[in-house]
Every structure is written in C-alpha cells, then in structure tokens.
Amino acid sequence: MNDFWIILTASLVAINSALLGSFLVLRKMSMIGDAISHAVLPGIVVAYYFSEDKASIFLLLGATLTGVLTSLIIDFLSKKAKIQGDASIGITYTLLFAVGMIMISGWMQGNVDIDLDCVLYGDIALVNMDKVIVDGNLYVGPRAFYIEFLGFAIIGFCLWIGFKGFKLLSFNEDYARSLGIATGRWHYFLMGLVSLTTVVSFEVVGAVLVVGFLIIPAATAQLMTDKLKPMLLYACGFGILAVIIGYFTAVYFDVSITGSMVSVSTLIFLAITVLKRRKRQTKALLKSSTDLRG
C-alpha cells in the first residue's frame, strides 16, 4: 500500500509539472521554472509559521503568490532596470531563497515539520507518515496526495479553460498584444500556476528537483510530436513513466527516490533523442540509396 500511495502522489507531481513545464519549454523559459521553485521558499515558511501544526492548504495557496512576485521582480529588473535577463533571474531567486533560509533557521528551529533538508529534497518516502484518516480509523491516503490532487484540479481546470490563451502567448506574444489581449495578465497567470505546482510539490520532491519534473518530460515530449495537445499528454506520460521506473529502481538499490526518478527521466530523454537521430539517419540512408538506384 505504501508503494502505491507514493507512486500515485509522485505521479500527480509529474502530471502537474509536465503540463506547466510544457509551456515553459515552449516559451524558452525553463530557467524561470527553476527560479520560481526556489523563490517560493519564504512563502512556504510563512505558510507554516502562521498555522500551528501543518501548513493549511489556504496558506499554501497564498505562498503561490511568492512565485508571482518573483516573476514580477524579474520582469522589473530586466525591463525597467535594464539588467540582463538571466542575471535578473539569478539575482531575484537567490535573494528570495536566502531570505527563506534565514527565516527557517531563525523561526523554525525545533519545528519538526519543516527543515532545510525537507525543503530542498522533499520527503517522498515519508509521505505516508502524514495520513488522512476519516471516521476514526479509515485510512484514505496521505495528506500530500490530497494537496497534490487539489493542485491538479486547479491546474487542469485553468489550462483547460485558458488553453487558447496559453497557446497564443507561447507562440507569438506580440501578435497576441496586437489583438488587444492582455498578455501581461496571461503571463502572470501562467507564472502563478507554475508557482502553485512547485508549492504543492515541494513536500514530496523538494525545491531542487521539481525543476527536473517540470522540464525534462516536456522536453522529451517535444521530440515526439508536433501538435500541442499530444505534447502535453506525452509529457505527462513520460513523467509518470519516470516516476514508476525511478521508484522501483530506487527501492532496489536503496538510493534517493526523487533523485532516481529525475535520473530515469533524463535517461528516457537521452534514449528518445538517440532513437530519433537513428530514425532520421536511417531515413536519409534509405532515401539516398533509392536516389542512387532511381
């Protein structure tokens, strides 16, 4: 049963991340995902600080705003202060992350629920410790699963109703603006969802490796298809595949579960890249041989 809940929870992390990661990859904004996943730390700490025991779900939603704030600061630095794009990303998220670390070491000493290790690396093996029990004794799964599921419901719904907008924003932002569409709002809408993904996932996979869940399956999916919706589905599929294979590999070798999942994800990416190249070479070869004959 433990395995089952861990895999299920991690699969939801993979799905949420893959969906949003696809748009980040298409917009060539992978680094923003990295930045947001680190920069939400102060928001998460505040969410824990103000709730006695466990961070409440609503406070976690509030922590999502930290991610939006991050992208606001990054945009301000690059557009208004004219600091180079990647420099403004680097400055912003390291600063926010540092503030979060100070807050943890200052306020959170002795708080068993949050420490630096857990924030950085997640506690996927321990998700089952925090059980949701109804009617006194019926175990209906770990709390992390329900938080992740709420995230999935919100993200799925927003992407479903906003699909056209996100597609247009990702393909041709200037054109969208020429149609009178408020691309700024769409941008921060997307950033808010990315932030939400990292906030709800950090307990499970941690702030460092969630980027792997965001970017790698999406980049793999991009190799597989040239349509947007199938790309999103492929990305989810590759994410889940990496979760399952990664989990059992980690258990077998007794190593870090999250680390193993991200490594497997990368291996899948490399395998697909090689296969694609092979296929193209074979095709070219076939073509040249028929050309010769013809």
Binding site: K164, F171, S178, Q222
Partner: protein
C-alpha cells in the same frame, strides 16, 4: 478624406537614443502604402509603436481617427517572420485560427463561422494542401503566407505588414500582390515595410521614407528623388543612382496588371 493612420510628434526609444525622432504623418485610406528606409532606420519600431507594442517616449498615434484600443478589431498586424519560433507544435490551420482569437472569445469554444473563415483565408494564400502540416515543415515563403492568412482571417480594414516579401519567390510575391490589390479594391488599407527599392514604384500608391526621422512622404514620384534617397541612405550612392536612373527611364509606367483593375 478619412485618414487610416495619424502619427503626431512621435518619438520612440529603446532606453538609449531615440530610434524614431519626431515623426509626423497622416496616411490615406484604401491604398497600398509602403514604408522604406535602410536597415535599422526604425521601420519595425514604427509599426510596433503604431500597434501599441512599444510605448512612445512622446507623441501619439490614432487609427481611423481614434485611439487604437477603440478600433483594434479593424487592425491586423503581420510581424516579421523571424519573430517567432517555427518549431512550435502547431499546424498551418492552428496558426491561422489565431487570427480569430479575441479578448472576449479566448475562454470560449471555436465556432463554425470561424472555421469557415480560417479555411477561406488559407485558400486565398494557396496553402490549402498544407493546412494540417506542422509549420516548421514549410518553406520560408509558405511560412510568410501563413502569417498573411492569419491577418486575412482577422477580417480587418487596416493591415500592417512587416516585410511580407522577404524570402518569397517571384510567383508568391505576385500572388500576394494580387491579394493585396483585391483587398484594396474592397476599400482596405495595407501598410507594408519593403526593402526592394526597384519595385516600390510598381507596388505602392503612397510611400513613407524613413531614417529615424521621416525623410519624405507622398506618391512614389514625389518621394523617390535623388535628394530624398541620399538623405535616407547616405553613402551608398552608386546603388542609389542606379535606382534613380531606373525609375527615370520607366517614368512610372502604368503596368498592365494595374490598368485592368
């Protein structure tokens, strides 16, 4: 006569020195209008400022005598082809459909009349057989036509196109031109950034010659004088005198294709 675009005391800068400096003009409606000038003279910047994609440092723009936001629906913008990533997972049809996107229908499902319009627009630029093809698997000229089709799908009255003839072969250039003169006959206004000085007098009814400042505007005969061209293009005189001679020789002949419209 109503003006399609009115630009008043317009100055635009990207942080540093102005790229457009104190530009003032009014453009007619129902004509094909060319914007010419050397590389870096601010042509793209001018279109972007008119479309509200860049904020001017001073001055204002009016479209059909109103602020742009009031008449957005009537204006279509064709960006430079290199401004997007053509590897994006979308088909010709998907991209042209974007021409039907509006602020108020983004959250709604696509309607049948929209599909109809999109298919017609693809047909007009001669890409029907490619409509389901992914956009990276098109030639440069075909990609350019996808952008034109997307603008057509908007059903606008004013079209602003950034170098639609770049990388396009003679046949395609002609078919786009025919399309443009059809649009003109329907009373639409088309503004085009153009590079080939040899063809400007054939293609355009009205010209803007730009080099940070507005050097000249008016009919091709008024604008394409040696003095104006030297002011705009500076040193490259040998090329220019060739162009001027060519224009003189032809004395702006009325081409067959123009006389029968």
């Amino acid at each position: 006569m109503k003006s399609s675009i009115e630009v008043h005391n317009l100055t635009t800068a990207y942080g540093g020195a102005p790229v457009l400096w104190d530009i003032d003009f009014q453009l007619p409606t129902g004509q094909i209008i060319g914007i010419i000038g050397p590389n870096g003279s601010g042509k793209t910047t001018l279109l972007k400022t008119i479309m509200g994609l860049l904020d001017p440092a001073s001055g204002f723009v009016k479209v059909f005598d109103q602020p742009l936001d009031k008449v957005r629906e009537k204006v279509a913008y064709v960006p430079q082809r290199e401004s997007v990533d053509w590897d994006f997972p979308a088909s010709v049809y998907d991209v042209v459909m974007m021409g039907r996107y509006r602020k108020y229908n983004l959250f709604k499902r696509t309607k049948d009349p929209d599909r109809e319009i999109v298919l017609q627009s693809i047909e007009k630029v001669g890409l029907s057989e490619f409509k389901d093809r992914q956009i990276s698997r098109l030639s440069g000229g075909q990609q350019q036509r996808v952008f034109v089709a997307r603008a057509l799908a908007q059903g606008a009255d004013l079209y602003l196109m950034d170098e639609p003839f770049v990388g396009v072969d003679a046949a395609t250039e002609n078919s786009i031109l025919n399309l443009l003169s059809e649009m003109k006959n329907e009373g639409k206004t088309v503004v085009i950034i153009h590079h080939d000085l040899q063809t400007v007098s054939d293609y355009f009814d009205y010209l803007l010659l730009l080099n940070t400042r507005l050097i000249a505007r008016g009919t091709p005969a008024e604008v394409l004088t040696k003095e104006n061209l030297t002011n705009a293009y500076g040193g490259q005189l040998t090329l220019l005198s060739k162009v001027v001679n060519l224009i003189k020789q032809n004395e702006f002949p009325i081409r067959e294709k123009d006389s029968d419209v």
